[in-house]
Each structure stands twice: as C-alpha cells, then as structure tokens.
C-alpha cells in the first residue's frame, strides 16, 4: 500500500506526460467472471457462476487496443478481443467484442491510471446454433506501471454490459442483459 501511495504521488506530482497525438498500444490477457444475467420479460436476475445462476464458469479474454491522445488527459481509440466461458453443460460461450474506447488519465507518467468507457458491438456464440451480434459497452479502471519511457505493465478490471436483444418475436421473452467482470493483465507501448 505504501508503495502504491508512493508511486501514485510520483505520478500525481508530475506534469502531464502525454501530448496531443501521443499513442498507446496494449495487449491484454486475463479472465472474465460472468456476474449476472437479467431477463427483462420475467424481471429475473441470476447472479453468480454456475448452475441456476448465469450457468457459466470463469473464462478467458485476450485483446489488442490502440488509442491516440486528443489532449494530454484524453485518448480515443478502439479494442478488439476474444472472450470464452464454458457453460456448465460443456458448451462454450464465446464473445468477440470490438468497440470504440475513450480513456481519461487523471494520473499519468510512471504510473498511468486510465478510466475507460467502451461502446461497440459483440459477436456472441453459444451451443445449438445460437449466435447473435449485439451491442456492447464497458467501463474499466486500470493501473499501468512504466519502468521506462515506452513499455508498461498493468492490471485492469471493470464491468462489461452485453444486452441480448433478439429480433425474432418468439425469442423476445429471452431478451436479457448480461454482465461480466474482466480481470486482466496488460502490456502497453506508448510513444
């Protein structure tokens, strides 16, 4: 904790590190925790892993992202990733999110603390011919440590929100909102 306060104070005391036009590339790898599913038609919310809840297990996520700074504290860009979670019956749920990403970095320098929101689409696929493209949104908090000028290592977490809005009438009763919590490690390159 002391180390964290120390590095934060270093970051906070520094002048803005980034300029308009600075760029970051990140590679992300980690897990996702299926957190809840809410079914609109029955107003039923299932919370947690496994049987009688979301039905899914802890999975994995990998992604690449790119952002460019529009001001010393704000960056925009995009991310594309691949997520998988096994369902308790052995089927595999996969998601390929691709989204626009906005980040605000109130702390930057040796330590970056990006607060990000994402909005885009996700291609979801499950067993038995079930696949659907839906909207995707997320909010993430990160902490990246840059021991040098360019390369940094960090952790991120947040919340994904994936609405399943079926377009066929017979599936309207299954319209839902699913939430996942990602916990990932990242490697970033900035210039």
């Amino acid at each position: 904790m002391l180390l964290l306060i120390l590095v934060l104070s270093v970051g906070l005391s520094a002048e803005p590190f980034y300029d308009k036009g600075s760029q970051t590339f990140s590679f992300t790898l980690g897990t996702t925790v299926p957190t809840f599913v809410h079914f609109f038609s029955t107003n039923e919310t299932r919370v947690g892993l496994g049987v009688d809840n979301t039905g899914m297990k802890i999975g994995g996520y990998g992604a690449i992202s790119y952002q460019a700074f529009t001001s010393p504290y704000s960056a925009i860009g995009g991310e594309i990733g691949y997520n998988f979670n096994y369902v308790v019956d052995g089927n595999l749920y996969t998601a390929v999110p691709f989204f626009f990403k906005y980040s605000y970095l109130p702390v930057q320098g040796t330590i970056d603390l990006p607060i990000s929101v994402g909005l885009g689409f996700v291609y979801n696929s499950g067993g038995a011919n079930t696949s659907i493209m839906t909207l995707y949104s997320n909010i993430e908090l990160g902490l990246t440590y840059f021991p040098g000028e360019h390369w940094g290592f960090g952790v991120r977490t947040g919340l994904w929100l994936i609405p399943e809005l079926n377009y066929r009438k017979e599936l309207f009763g299954d319209n839902a909102l699913a939430g996942f919590v990602p916990i990932t490690l990242s490697v970033s390159y900035r210039q």
């Binding site: 696929s125 011919n129 079930t130 493209m133 079926n166 599936l171």
Partner: protein
Amino acid sequence: MKKILIIMTTITLLFTACNADATSGLFRTAAEAREALTIKYMQVVGRKGANDTLYFLTREGLFVKDTNAKAAELIVTSKEDNRVQSAAYLNDKIKLLYKTDKNDGSLFEYDPVTKASTPLPIPAAPVTDFRLMPNGKIVLKGAANSGEFWIVANDKLGSYNADGIKVTAGEGFDFYGLFTPSNYEKSDANKGFLFSFVKSGSPNEYKNYYYDGAGVNEMNNTLGSISNFSVIGTDLYILTVEGALYHLKTGALNVAAKLKDNTVGYERNAFFYPIDDGANLHFITNPSSSDSMSVFSVVKGDPKADTTTVSTIKNGYAAVLKDTFIVSSLQLDGETFLVATQKHGMYSVQVDKANVNKNDGTNVQAISKAEEYEF
C-alpha cells in the same frame, strides 16, 4: 462517417442472421444449462415386467435394477477389448444377450438366475460381421462387398442359411443403419425393425428393408439417410436425417409420401417417439444441434402433407429433455416411457396425449428428476 455506419449496420445484420435457427436466447440457454452427469447411457435394454426388473447399458457395462433397489447392480463390466456395445432382453426366455467388441465382435448370453455369461459362436466365413437387435434378432453380414445379409434368431445362428432370412442388397452395399422404434417395449411383442444399407458414391445409394417379424419387405430407396422410424398399425412413418417425415403403407412400401420438412437435422437412430391421442398421431423428436424439441402432428388415418404440422417445443417435458442427448427409450405404457440420455441420466416421462405438441407445461403429466425414474 455515413459510409462507416452503413458498413457497421451491414455487418451487424449479417451476423445477427446467424441465430435464425435458435429457439432460445443465448443467455437463457446458458442460465438453464445443467452439468452433465458421469453416467453415460447407451441403451435402455428392457424390463422383465411392469414395476419389475429393468436392464440398461452404460459405458461402464450392463446393469440391472429392481424396482425397490436403491441402486443398480453392474452385472457385466465393459473392459478394454471387451466392451459391451449393445444388448437385448429376451422377455420370453428371461435372459439377456449382449455384443462386445472382443475379437472384433462377440456375442454372449447372460442368465440372470445363475449370473453367468455364455459365449454364443458367430458363424464362420463367409460371415464377417453381425449386429444384435434389441429384440434379440441377429443381423449377419456376408463377405465384404457381397451385399449379402441374413436375419436370424439368436438360437438359430448355427443354421442361419436354412433358418435365417437372406437379404441381397447387392454388391458394394454395407450397413448404414438398423432402426428400432423409439416406443420399443419388449422382445416378444416388438419384433419388427428397419434396416438400411448404403453403397458409397456420389451421391450415396441406399437400399431399405422392413422386417415385420415374419418376413423382409423391400422399401422405397429414395428416402436418403434414415434417422428413425415408427410403426402405427399398418403404416410406417420415417424420419430422415435431413428432417423430412414420410408416410408409407404396409403392402406398398415402395411408395413414400412426404408429409413435412423440418428445418433441423437429426442424428441416426434419433428419438422419434409416437403418441396416439385418438384423433392425431404425434411424433416427439429431439433434433441435433438444436436447443428445443420438435413434434410432428399427423391426422390419424388420413396423413396428408397439408394437414401435417411441426411444433417447436421448449417447455414442459422439453425443458428437461431438450439438451440431454437422448440415446435410447423404452415404452412403459401408452403415454409413459423411459428416456436414457448421454448427458443427464435417465428420466421417466408421462406426457399428456392431447397436449403433447403444446409448447407449455400442459404437455406433460409427470416427469422425474434425472436418475429418479420409475418403471
């Protein structure tokens, strides 16, 4: 910007179209999923009588369960190079037959009284292979590529040439499938089965035959790949792996009338359970790669394409059975049956005859929990 939006919308619509075959939402399917059980059923072999002994086959081997017993007893263990592949309970002899993969195919008779297994010799060349049917009949295969087969009683194996029924499918034809109706009940009552042979080509060529318990009848050969069949009185109903339902009349089995095309496919030997509600015949089916069940409904006595319907069912009994991967079934009475599955154990099901094609809870009177079946 406008161009980007058009491209994104097009991509979205393209991918969204992929769930056109789904009958449940993606997250609903996951939330209602259940863990697969370790017991992997292969066949409900038969029962001695109502509320009496039940025999079934799993990947572990052959089991017996008495009505009052808490647990089933393993009577024949599957071992490497001697795995039980199929079995038959002979209701008239009160004995079991089972086929294993020992020496590429061995047949045994099991006596439940002495608990002893006795090998039954399979005829030598030109016989090269055989199949054991649930009713105890043996189908022998002749020399490779000869296209010759025999149906013979299990106690007439030694004299199959004289006592068996020879079927000559033709050079190059081999086993495609042997089909027993899903409402099979017992060996001395359900003597019929359907067998289909295939000759590889482009396209494959099929020859289909119906054994009615006494003789072999040639059938329509343009049905393609058969999934399963059902016998209702003097009529045969055939489901193909492409999901088509055909009606054939005994006596004119070369004529097949297509009643309905389902948009989903089926495995070979798929669940195809007939229910007669008096006015209509309903066939409960479990399509492959689907998150629901389908019920074909045909006007009894007057099956026609324009009056045949297919209903997608995911509630009632289908809520329990739809994703279980049904491998075998056994009729207990007109509306009650056992369903053995590969993923979720065995169930006893009592459907509601009049509502069996309804997509709600009225389609079932009672359904057991997994492995809490009654027989």
